[in-house]
């Protein structure tokens, strides 16, 4: 009796502690017993005789024979409960206990774990998107590089093609001008000389534009080379003044040149690159100045040449100052023609010469451009470079050139000076001629039919023919020059060639051979 009472007490304590509730159903799922505390979980109407399917939601679909645990079922009260179905011989006991504490704890952990996993998934997805975007960018970059390479190649090709006809134009107008000048200076001939002079200036201007285009092609490939040599600075600045004066005169603006040295002033610098920079900077200044003046200053100090170009043009806004060194950039509102390459190339050349291009400007106050480059001074007298001073040396020359206009021009100019010139129009004929006849000097183009100039140089090396060969090419690409020099050419001239340069080189070659 005592034991039964104790057992009942224990059971009571246990039921209360676990918040246990229960009901029993028979095999037809009819409720045959139920604890009173079922209502604590929101299970109402669970009374003897009722059908469990109707009054307890989780009972629908279950049977009285299967043992089953249903953890953490949300009860109608909102509390989580654990449900255990315990079948006996003829009935099923359903125990319901509180699982709130466990569910709350689990909720916290699971929520955090799931959120973390979602974050990781999101990160992976974002990484993948980033990778895809990066791949796309890389592809775009490759495409852009290819487009840039094609553009460069196109520009180089075009400028190369332009050089050959320009050689003819400049050469022949020179001949016509000389003929007109020697015919006498009556009024009509003077007009013609002026007209021809205008054609020559335009041609040279066109040539400088072409050179800029070609140089732009080299900017990315580091092919612009500076070749310092003995140069008379005073003569170079005078040449530039003579070249650009007609442009300033045409616009009725003053062109002032202030040199801090006198002729001769021999320094070591790349005269053609320095000339190119000056033409670019002064050409810009004159182009953009409609009234007032353009002033060029140059002085030597401690083996450094300091150059300044000052104009009274419209000036440049701070916004545009940041852009003017970009290739092809031109202010939209100036209405001035040009390639937009001059400043880009000048900046690069000045850098290669060891200086830095500085630009300062303000809208309405003009523009100042300056640079300072090393120019070590030499004491020696300048070498005689005028054509009339070049000594004549009897020589038999072979000219290999497939462009007949240029070939005729060179033959004419050399013949006028008393040289004996044979012309062939392809590399194979040039090789045959050199194998069968004696020549003192060869002037040869690179790009010729049947055999190129390179092929001829190679064959001459193989056959041991030592006749000095000067290459005359429209290609100013450094690698072409290097290739020709590697194949043993005596010198490499870029079209349009000056006939005096040809004679000087020939004399040098003949002297060395002797």
């Amino acid at each position: 009796m005592v034991e039964t009472s104790l057992q009942q007490h224990i059971n009571q304590q246990l039921f209360e502690k676990l918040e246990l509730a229960y009901f029993c159903v028979d095999q037809s799922m009819q409720i045959i017993d139920a604890s009173e505390n079922l209502e604590n979980y929101g299970y109402t109407g669970v009374v003897v005789g009722a059908n469990a399917d109707d009054c307890v939601d989780f009972m629908f679909g279950l049977d009285a024979y299967t043992e089953l645990d249903l953890p953490m079922v949300e009860s109608p009260s909102g509390k989580k409960v654990s449900v255990s179905l315990l079948p006996r011989d003829s009935f099923l006991t359903v125990l319901i206990s509180s699982a709130s504490a466990e569910a709350d704890q689990r909720q916290l952990l699971q929520q955090k774990a799931n959120e973390n996993e979602l974050l990781v998934e999101q990160q992976i997805k974002l990484m993948k998107q980033l990778e895809n975007a990066s791949e796309m960018l890389e592809q775009k970059n490759v495409q852009l590089e290819e487009a840039s390479r094609l553009q460069t190649s196109f520009l180089s090709g075009v400028s190369h093609e332009f050089r050959t006809p320009l050689t003819s134009i400049i050469g022949y107008t020179n001949l016509v001008k000389q003929a007109l000048q020697s015919a006498g200076d009556d009024g009509s001939e003077s007009d013609k000389v002026q007209h021809i002079g205008a054609v020559q200036r335009s041609s040279k201007h066109l040539l400088s534009l072409v050179e800029n285009l070609l140089d732009h092609g080299k900017l990315d490939s580091d092919e612009i080379i500076v070749r310092p040599k003995e140069t008379d600075l005073a003569e170079l600045f005078n040449d530039v003044e003579l070249l650009l004066k007609p442009l300033s005169d045409g616009k009725h603006i003053d062109f002032i040149v202030e040199l801090g040295f006198e002729q001769p002033m021999i320094v070591v610098t790349d005269d053609s690159r320095l000339r190119q920079c000056l033409i670019n900077l002064l050409g810009n200044a004159i182009k953009f100045t409609d009234s007032g003046s353009v002033r060029l200053t140059a002085k030597l100090s401690d083996d450094f040449l300091k150059v300044g170009v000052f104009d009274t043009g419209p000036g440049i806004s701070q916004e545009n100052l940041a852009k003017i060194k970009l290739p092809f950039w031109q202010a939209a509102d100036t209405g001035k023609a040009g390639t937009g390459l001059g400043l880009t190339i000048t900046e690069r050349i000045v850098e290669l010469m060891g200086g830095e291009l500085e630009i300062s400007s303000e809208l309405g106050c003009g523009t100042q451009v300056s640079f300072e480059i090393p120019a070590p001074q030499l004491d020696a007298e300048p070498k005689p470079v005028e054509s009339q001073m070049l000594p004549f040396k009897q020589a038999k020359i072979l000219l290999a050139e497939d462009d007949y206009d240029i070939a005729d021009l060179i033959v004419m100019m050399l013949s006028e000076r008393g040289y004996e010139v044979s012309h062939v129009d392809n590399g194979e004929l040039a090789l045959n001629a050199l194998e069968n006849q004696e020549f003192d000097f060869v002037l040869m183009d690179i790009h010729m039919p049947i055999m190129t100039g390179y092929d001829v140089l190679r064959e001459l090396q193989v056959k041991g023919i030592k006749t000095p060969v000067a290459i005359m090419s429209a290609s100013a690409v450094e690698s072409d020059r290097a290739k020709a020099e590697q194949l043993g050419c005596f010198d490499y001239l870029i079209k349009p060639v000056e006939i005096d340069d040809v004679i000087r080189i020939m004399n040098l070659a003949i002297d060395q051979r002797a």
């Binding site: 399917d53 939601d57 989780f58 629908f60 679909g61 279950l62 049977d63 299967t66 089953l68 645990d69 249903l70 953890p71 953490m72 079922v73 949300e74 989580k80 699982a99 569910a103 689990r106 909720q107 699971q110 929520q111 774990a113 799931n114 959120e115 996993e117 979602l118 998934e121 997805k125």
Partner: protein, 158 residues
């Protein structure tokens, strides 16, 4: 009146509770609250009373508790159209279902169709077609195809 037990199953955070709540109470919440255990709701499709068991989602640590499936007449397989893995996981989940209660009628909800990065291609859903399941692009947010999904399942159950 007919009464049927159906179960919502799928990976965690695919929108089982959202679909159920949209269907049962026509409510939607953006807030993600993971389901612990199971929540039981009732709703009607025509004259059929559905006892809807919204079962806690499967995650990497805990599989679906197959006890909840006992007595179910149909299954709604839910996956998230923005998470490819949840679509592929349906195959495994179906094995659990089949093992416990056999091949009951099922429909598929490709949920979260309202989201921008929703991306499902035919290759991923080929398995659903093989099984002959009706597949619905659903959105618990705007209610797209939610009703149709449950109606289709009731119709499949017969």
């Amino acid at each position: 009146m007919l009464k049927k037990k159906i179960c919502m199953v799928g990976d965690f955070s695919v929108g089982k509770t959202s679909l159920t709540q949209k269907f049962v109470n026509n409510v939607f919440s953006e807030k993600y609250l993971t389901t612990i255990g199971v929540k039981i709701d009732t709703a009607f499709v025509n004259d059929t009373k559905l006892i809807v068991w919204d079962v806690a989602g499967r995650d990497s640590l805990s599989p679906i508790n197959a006890s909840y499936l006992v007595g179910a007449s149909g299954i709604v397989l839910v996956c998230d159209g923005t998470r490819q893995s949840t679509v592929l996981d349906i195959k495994d989940i179906w094995q659990v279902v089949k093992k416990r209660i056999g091949e009951v009628p099922a429909v598929v909800a490709l949920n979260k169709s309202d989201l921008e990065d929703w991306h499902i291609d035919a290759q991923q859903t080929a398995y659903f077609e093989e099984q002959g399941w009706q597949t619905f692009e659903t959105s618990a947010k705007d209610g797209q195809n939610v009703k149709a999904l449950f109606e289709a399942l009731v119709s499949e159950i017969g």
